[in-house]
Amino acid sequence: MNAPLILFYFFEAAAAIAAVALLFARSVFYGALLVIVILLALAGLYVLAFAEFVAVTQILVYAGGILVVIIFGIMLTSRLSGKPLVVEHTLPVSGGLVGLAFFGALVYAIALQTFPTSESVAKTSTTFDATQTVGIALMSDYVLPFETTGILLLMALIGAAVMASDNASKKI
């Protein structure tokens, strides 16, 4: 058993266990920390799937950005209420049934397919500098969606700042 395969199973087990723990988490803060674990494990899996740039973006943007914002949100809402946030569960049986049925359908669909093994693919991709190619492609072939997402990000962040600011209301 070689080292990448061991790392692959480690990251896969970490993501799966953290996802199961998220199902039973009663605290929003613990839930956010479990999602950080899942995101970091997925970044490791991206490295193993030859997507280094996506992995670094995942760590920088998701684990460093979104989750910090979410933890800020948790702390602000618990500060407003003055008591810690405890999550209640609703519809556990039917929700679990929906999830299990969906998972079963997806597993059935995946098990029907045959995919090419990655060994033949991996040989050709060793001389392939993915990060440089991604950078060149972002500035040449994909420059229109790149700029469009930039404008979308600007609009969303300005809108979020305007919505979250409270100078319009006298409360708090």
Binding site: G73, L106, V107, S118, T149, G159
Partner: protein, 101 residues
């Protein structure tokens, strides 16, 4: 290197887990976390399929754009959660049922 269907099984598992989290949790921030989980599961599938085509970058590009759109969604979603919390004093989505305060 692991076969690609392991990525797909993990992606299906994470997507189903996110779905259960969205349905069962009675907290808006937890619902947002489940949404992030589902977006990440789809990203994992995109990257896994892209690893089958080494010369092509379309899967990785789409994963990058999905990450950026997820950033926008999380920022706007949390701003709405904070605003709703100030207005209604609750973070349970079922309790937000008045149109006019």
């Amino acid at each position: 290197m692991a076969p690609v269907h392991h990525f797909l099984y993990l992606g299906a598992f994470l997507f189903s887990t996110g779905l259960i989290v969205i349905i069962t949790k009675r907290n808006t921030i937890m619902v947002l976390l489940g949404l992030e989980l589902m977006l990440n599961a789809s990203n994992l599938n995109l990257v896994a399929f892209n690893s089958l085509h080494p010369g092509s970058l379309q899967g990785q590009m789409f994963a990058l754009f999905v990450i950026v759109v997820a950033v926008c969604e999380a920022a706007v979603g949390l701003a709405i959660v904070l605003r709703v919390y100030r207005q209604y004093r609750t973070s349970v989505p079922d309790h937000v049922n008045e149109l006019n305060q």
